[in-house]
């Protein structure tokens, strides 16, 4: 069993390292086989060891990583139900995406670098998932950040791609700073960084400290998960290749923040204030991103904003105190969003490498198969009844409703409004892409079969993942809540309330569909209004950051470089150097090469010395 658990981590690492070191010397398909094989092997290892995680979980220490005084950090795995289900999802989705990427990147000259980074990413993500202490978790946390940076800017020859990579890295690093502070603080209090140790000791933590640490952790999570206010990197991250968007910026890395909060939930849940802030940030992001998604023109940017919005729902669920609702939505979202992104990659190919949905249209005729796959993903995202997205989103909203006080009812109201917006932008996307006739000029570029067949399992799982945590109303047993040992997350509402909530969810879904149908069924070219331009630019958040942070930072930088560095420091150094040169050229006049002058100097010096001694002798 220990070997299986070790293999989960080791295989992607080995695949990444082998590809990075020797990939370029191998014949062409070999790196792809190594990369995909490593991840699939890791998936099988997860599957094989899944049952060990039940109940208390399984702890495996491979070796001690750091030891200094009281401080000890192990390379250790904590394979509890939460980690097991997350690891299974990560490796499963990653396996399918690797296969898809094998087709997608078939002709790319830098294929080897791509697969090495992708494998290293999976390794880093699994480190986050399985780590038994916060320091190791942090190692993975930075690892996914680095791999994400390398993969967003994968086609680095175009400046905007490289810029997007840098932006993602810098913004997420801002969040990481808060996480680091929280980590050190937790060590200062508990004297250990082990997750079990911290969660066991939280009972005697005072409320203020717990609140502050939770908020710091929340901020760290916000950076990785693209939540308000550190969200502006995610839409730009779509500059990367589509498999990267699917794996990193939809299914796994952006959910790392949610996972972190779930992992440390005993700590976070101590403070009602922190929970309220988490819920508020979640719902604010969900709403903000849904409005932005309404006006986007690029298919992947719509999906990016929808990811942000759905991760906002997960934060909301954590803020409501329901770990299983958050994890449920995390899992279903991972499946259908990976499906959506990969299908979007096929659509972009079919439209002749055209991203812009205004220049798509009529894609249904080009490939009915891709149409049905994309619609399956969209239905889940929009929360169509009986799809996985419907159940998971409904559980979050119902949990908010079940709290009953005005604050949570307000959250519920905003959540429902966001669900309506979600349905609206999903069907806007569907109508713009599939209805009418093709509006672009490009010829289709058929996706190869390797890109298509990983989509079927994802579509099936995406549609059916609701079974994981089917509520009692639908004759389900809430398996996920039971598996996570969170029976308190199972709602016990009256039958009428349940029907009412479901009716509301269905109503907003239909409402969004109808509005989208009325507005976008027939495509008309029109000048974007002021509001839609505002939404297109993401509420001008980038401009605000530019004015508030980037410009002042540039100015400080300019002051430091031109005022302090060039003016002061170089002034002093140059002045000293110039003084020495001047003195030297003046002294040079004395050495005129005339022997008689030297001799005169010698004599005068001698006279002076003699005179000095005579003077001393006389006085």
């Amino acid at each position: 069993m220990d070997i299986l658990l070790t293999l989960i981590l080791l295989l992607p690492l080995a695949g990444g390292v082998i590809n990075a070191c020797f990939g370029n010397r191998m014949p062409r398909p070999a790196p792809v086989f190594i990369a995909s094989g490593a991840v699939i092997g890791s998936f099988l290892a997860c599957l094989g060891s899944f049952t060990v995680a039940a109940g208390e979980g399984y702890r495996l220490v491979l070796f001690t990583w750091l030891k200094s005084g009281d401080f000890q950090a192990d390379i250790g795995l904590l394979y509890d139900p939460l980690a097991a289900i997350m690891a299974l999802m990560v490796t499963g989705v990653a396996s399918l995406i690797h296969l898809y990427a094998a087709g997608y990147m078939e002709d790319d000259p830098d294929q080897v670098r791509f697969f090495a980074l992708l494998n290293l990413f999976v390794f880093a993500m699994l480190t986050i998932v399985l780590a038994d202490n916060l320091l190791l978790l942090f190692l993975g946390w930075e690892g996914v950040g680095f791999c994400s940076y390398g993969l967003i800017g994968f086609w680095y020859r175009k400046t905007e791609n490289a810029d997007a990579g840098r932006k993602a890295f810098i913004v997420t690093r801002t969040g990481d700073l808060f996480f680091t502070v929280a980590l050190l603080w937790l060590f200062a209090i508990f004297g250990t960084v082990s997750i079990e140790g911290i969660n066991a000791g939280v009972a005697d933590l005072d409320l203020t400290t717990a609140t502050v640490i939770s908020l710091l952790l929340l901020f760290g999570a916000c950076g990785k998960s693209a939540q308000v206010p550190l969200m502006s990197w995610l839409p730009d991250a779509m500059a990367g290749p589509t498999p990267v968007s699917a794996l990193i910026h939809a299914a796994t890395m952006v959910t790392a923040g949610v996972y972190l909060l779930c992992r440390l939930f005993p700590l976070v849940s101590l403070s009602p204030l922190a929970l309220a802030v988490i819920a508020l940030i979640g719902i604010a992001t969900a709403f903000y991103a849904a409005t932005c998604a309404l006006a986007q023109n690029e298919i992947k940017r719509v999906l990016a904003y929808s990811t942000m919005s759905q991760v906002g729902y997960m934060f909301l669920a954590v803020g409501l105190g329901s770990v299983s609702a958050a994890m449920f939505h995390l899992l279903t979202h991972a499946f259908f969003k990976a499906l959506l992104f990969m299908t979007a990659g096929c659509l972009i190919n079919l439209a002749g490498h055209e991203n812009d949905i205004r220049r798509m249209g009529g894609m249904r005729q080009r490939s009915p198969l891709v149409f049905w796959l994309f619609i399956a993903g969209l239905l889940c995202l929009a929360g169509a009844p009986l799809t996985s997205g419907f159940f998971s989103k409904d559980l979050i909203l119902a949990t908010a409703f079940a709290h009953g006080d005005p604050f949570h009812l307000g959250l519920y109201g905003l959540g429902v409004a966001t669900a309506a917006l979600t349905s609206l932008y999903c069907f806007r996307l569907a109508y713009l892409v599939f209805a009418g006739d093709f509006r672009g000029e490009e010829l289709p570029h058929e996706p190869n079969s390797l890109m298509l067949w990983p989509l079927y399992p994802l579509a099936i799982i995406g549609l059916g993942a609701g079974l994981l945590n089917l509520p009692h109303l639908f004759a389900g047993g809430s398996w996920l809540s039971g598996w996570l040992d969170r029976s308190q997350d199972v709602l016990h509402l009256s039958l009428n309330t349940e029907y009412l909530l479901i009716a509301a969810a269905v109503a907003v879904f239909v409402l969004g569909w109808l509005v989208a149908g009325l507005r976008y069924r027939k495509y008309t070219e029109h000048q974007p209004s002021l509001v839609s331009r505002f939404l297109l630019s993401g509420w001008r958040v980038d401009n605000v950051f530019d004015v508030l942070l980037v410009q002042p930072f540039r100015n400080i930088g300019r002051f430091c470089s031109q005022g302090v560095e060039i003016g002061l420091i170089e002034g002093i150094l140059n002045g000293a150097a110039r003084g020495c040169t001047d003195l030297g050229s003046r002294l040079r006049g004395f050495a005129d090469g005339k022997v008689s002058a030297y001799l005169q100097g010698l004599v005068w010096g001698f006279v002076l010395i003699i005179g000095w001694f005579l003077l001393r002798a006389l006085i």
């Binding site: 002294l587 040079r588 006049g589 004395f590 050495a591 005129d592 090469g593 005339k594 022997v595 008689s596 001799l599 005169q600 004599v603």
Partner: protein
């Protein structure tokens, strides 16, 4: 001692000053060398005089050594002068200013 010590010292000082003046003023390399010789000989005069004054033989030994060294010095100095003359067809000291800064 027939000649009083004071006279001897005055003569030696005068010789020394004449030699020094020659070294400083003349531009001909050979004349400078001669000036140096005069200065050395004035020193030798003092050594001999002092040796006679204190009835000690050390000063005279010193003068013998001085003569030997002077002979060597003149030989080398004149060789250098010949070499310099070959270089520039002149022994004017002002021409040799390659060490100018």
């Amino acid at each position: 001692m027939i000649v009083p010590m004071e006279h001897l010292l005055i003569l030696a000082t005068l010789l020394f000053a004449l030699g020094l003046g020659c070294v400083l003023v003349r531009r001909n390399l050979i004349m400078i060398l001669i000036g140096v010789e005069i200065m050395i000989n004035s020193v030798g005069l003092v050594l001999v005089g002092a040796s006679a004054f204190w009835q000690q033989v050390d000063g005279q030994i010193m003068v013998l050594i001085l003569m030997a060294i002077t002979a060597a010095e003149v030989a080398i100095g004149l060789a250098l002068v010949v070499y310099l003359h070959q270089q520039k067809k002149s022994i004017d000291v002002g021409i040799f200013d390659e060490m100018r800064g």
